[in-house]
């Protein structure tokens, strides 16, 4: 009896260890440069975290293949993963772990709610932290941090461009929108964007019929969507990660809610949105950081390499993580040193412009607060299972479908 219990416990522990092992540590040569990648690689946001990581992976592969960091004797970059599990507390301890592993910088953490406290820990430890994707204004504004460098646009800009898009497009279609409903998840990402949306709606004259905050990863959205149907706004502005985005769209179809869906990147820009909804994903709008059809030199080629390597199309997240890695490479070249303080100074002087920058604006550089001042957004619509750029008109690849036909008319 005792023996069988002990062997059961041993067997369980062995299995647990094996299952928990994850990716083996990369073997590093003496002069390799470890780079910390802080992302949710498990948990409910994992699909998006794993997709974010791809941009880093592709960039580092290209950098190493082209000879590594020349000013450091051709030293190669090595990714050191820190899995936040989508949880801020785990993220903070991963930052400490990465710092002890002597990473030259940290890039992450995708979620605003995780990026906010982890940048604080990095600031305390003096580790340069590049934020490629997380958008909350509070990550850079008003903090006086010296080690945080934010490539992504501000949440308030997402909100502003989302509202501008709704007003522009509905006016061009002959029936200007008058009201919106805000539906957002309840962590920092959702709440910070909603604040921006309320402000922008006021500025552009749209009435906010309701500002609804829902619990992330909720299994059933029926009553909330029924409420939205009842309110009948001209557009539904969503701020959701992937599970919620898919569930909301499904529920809208089930309940016959025929209101244009305008997402805020995250779940709505992730390839998993399309693979999970198939045809039902079509005609969803989302604010985006980048798209494959953007008119920028080199963008299409990099997108092709990405798709060949990973089997999924490249999206705005991956473009941001890719360019952030290039920012790091550029700073390392100029610093000529892996000293964190020197790297920080080099990062502050970043200017990557024109054709070197595949994101839809001229230069990636950093202002006083660490925010990239020129960062700009586009709006995409899913047409036949592919994201297409539809706004602003200057960079649009195609015209938006607005008004959006009812579910049973598709």
């Amino acid at each position: 009896m005792t023996i069988s219990r002990r062997s059961a416990v041993l067997a369980l522990s062995a299995l647990a260890v094996a299952a928990g092992m994850g990716a083996p540590r990369p073997a590093m040569a003496a002069d390799d440069i470890p780079v910390g990648i802080l992302l949710p690689l498990s948990g409910s946001v994992a699909p998006i975290g794993i997709n974010n990581r791809r941009g880093h992976e592709l960039a580092i592969e290209e950098i190493n293949a082209a000879g590594g960091i020349k000013s450091l004797g051709g030293a190669k970059l090595v990714m050191v993963d820190g899995d936040t599990q989508g949880n801020p507390n785990v993220g903070i301890s991963e930052v400490e772990k990465l710092a002890r592993r002597d990473v030259v910088a940290i890039m992450g953490a995708y979620q605003s709610g995780v990026t906010f406290p982890t940048t604080q820990m990095a600031e305390r430890l003096g580790v340069p932290y590049i934020d490629p994707v997380a958008i909350a204004d509070s990550i850079t504004e008003g903090r006086g941090f010296k080690y945080t460098f934010k490539v992504s646009p501000l949440a308030s800009w997402y909100a502003r461009d989302q509202i501008r898009f709704v007003v522009d497009t509905s006016t061009a279609a002959g029936n200007p929108a008058k009201s919106v409903v805000l539906l957002h998840e309840d962590t920092l990402f959702g709440t910070s964007t909603a604040e921006g949306q309320v402000k922008a709606a006021k500025e552009y004259g749209l009435e906010v019929l309701a500002d609804i905050s829902y619990p992330k990863d909720t299994p059933d959205m029926t009553s909330i969507i029924a409420q939205v149907k009842d309110l009948n706004p001209d557009a539904l502005l969503l701020v959701s990660y992937i599970n919620d985005a898919v569930l909301i769209t499904r529920t809208m179809k089930e309940l016959g809610v025929n209101i244009p869906i305008v997402g805020t990147s995250a779940g709505h820009i992730d390839p998993a949105y399309i693979t999970n909804l198939a045809k039902d994903a079509d005609l969803t709008f989302t604010v985006g950081e980048w798209n494959v059809d953007i008119d920028k030199a080199g963008a299409a080629e990099i997108a092709k390499r990405f798709e060949e390597k990973f089997g999924v199309p490249m999206n705005g997240h991956a473009a941001e993580t890719y360019m952030s890695t290039m920012v790091l490479r550029d700073a390392l070249e100029r610093a000529g040193s892996t000293d964190r303080a020197k790297l920080r100074d080099a990062l502050a002087e970043t200017r990557i412009c024109g054709d070197d920058n595949i994101l839809p604006y001229d230069c990636i550089r950093f202002g006083e607060s660490g925010q990239s001042p020129e960062a700009q957004l586009v709006v995409l619509q899913i047409v036949d299972g592919v994201h297409k750029t539809v706004w602003p008109p200057e960079v649009a690849a195609t015209k938006p479908v607005w008004p959006v036909p009812a579910w049973d008319a598709r």
Binding site: M1, S4, R5, A8, L12, L15, A16, A19, G20, L41, S42, G43, S44, A46, P47, I50, D186, I212, S213, Y214, P215, D217, T218, P219, D220, T222, S223, I224, A226, Q227, K229, D230, I242, N243, V246, L247, R250, K253, E254, L255, G256, A272, N276, L277, A278, D280
Partner: protein, 290 residues
């Protein structure tokens, strides 16, 4: 506006039916064996993955998978009880909790390792079909989930009341030593109870696959809801679990409308939970063996 409340009531009842099947499995296991199964939700999750792969690889309809799952997961529950749970029956609750909690973590990690963290959706052609019920839209798949879950709960109830094995199970739940004294094979009863509990929760997962996503992390939420329901209904009380589940489903759904923000809808459920614990700790419908 009353349309919206009707919709909330109906969708709350629908999901409550599925919660009932999950909770009934948990309360059966607790009633007969005194084991708190923290890994309950993970069996639900594996049931879902089973149905997902059956559909994706072999084109098997999830409702057919649900039928096949009954003997399959009964056998799995039987085996898990014999190998892992049996050694801790009768030991301190702390040891039991550690074991089932550890099992839960192991199963989640295993699922992530085998199936990746990506969440999946099972697509069926009839997936979004709905019909109208006095102004509320009801989806056929949710109605089917409700009907199947409640049907299984009823079948389990009849089994426990009318068959010899069922009576033996109830005897174990009420009085372990007495049951042994009259010659009931306790070890076998435990395996049957666990097997039935696991079969129930796996089927609950499978009937949700047409409308709910499949991912390694879906389990804990259902385990937690099941615990609340089981306490609400009275530990070991099956009709209590069913009633409790319907109540929780509706409170959650209507709570989303009534609370100042839908983020607080779970709060409504937990406040109810705490009130019951304070004023009627034996549960709304009384204790074991009922």
């Amino acid at each position: 506006m009353s349309d919206v409340y009707l919709q909330a009531l109906i969708s709350g009842l629908m999901i409550g039916g599925v919660y009932a099947l999950v909770a009934v499995g948990l309360t059966l296991i607790f009633g007969v064996m005194d084991i708190i199964n923290f890994a309950h939700g993970e069996f639900l999750m594996f049931g879902m993955y089973g149905a997902f792969f059956a559909s994706a690889l072999f084109g098997i309809d999830p409702y057919l998978s649900a039928v096949m799952a009954l003997p399959l997961f009964f056998a799995i529950g039987w085996a898990v009880q014999g190998v892992l749970i049996r050694p801790v029956v009768g030991k301190s609750h702390a040891i039991q909790i550690l074991l089932t909690l550890g099992l839960s973590l192991l199963m989640q990690a295993l699922a992530q390792f085998l199936f990746s963290a990506d969440f999946q959706s099972l697509k069926v052609d009839y997936g979004s079909a709905t019909f109208d019920l006095s102004g509320a839209r009801v989806s056929y798949t949710r109605l089917a989930a409700f009907a199947i879950s409640m049907g299984l709960c009823a079948a389990l109830w009849v089994f426990l009341q009318r068959t010899d094995t069922g009576k033996a199970l109830r005897a174990c739940a009420e009085e372990h030593e007495g049951a042994q004294a009259v010659g009931i094979d306790i070890a076998r009863m435990y395996k049957i109870a666990f097997g039935l509990g696991i079969a129930c929760v796996a089927i609950a997962g499978i009937v949700m696959t047409p409308f709910f996503y499949v991912a390694p992390v879906v389990g804990p939420k259902f385990t937690l809801v099941a615990f609340v329901i089981v306490v609400l209904g009275g530990l070991g009380n099956i009709p209590g679990a069913v009633a409790g589940a319907l109540i929780v489903g509706v409170v959650e759904s209507v709570g989303a409308l009534v609370m100042p923000s839908p983020s607080l809808k779970d709060l409504a459920v937990y406040v109810l939970f705490i009130l019951v614990l304070l004023f009627r700790p034996q549960g709304l419908f009384g204790g074991k063996g009922a």
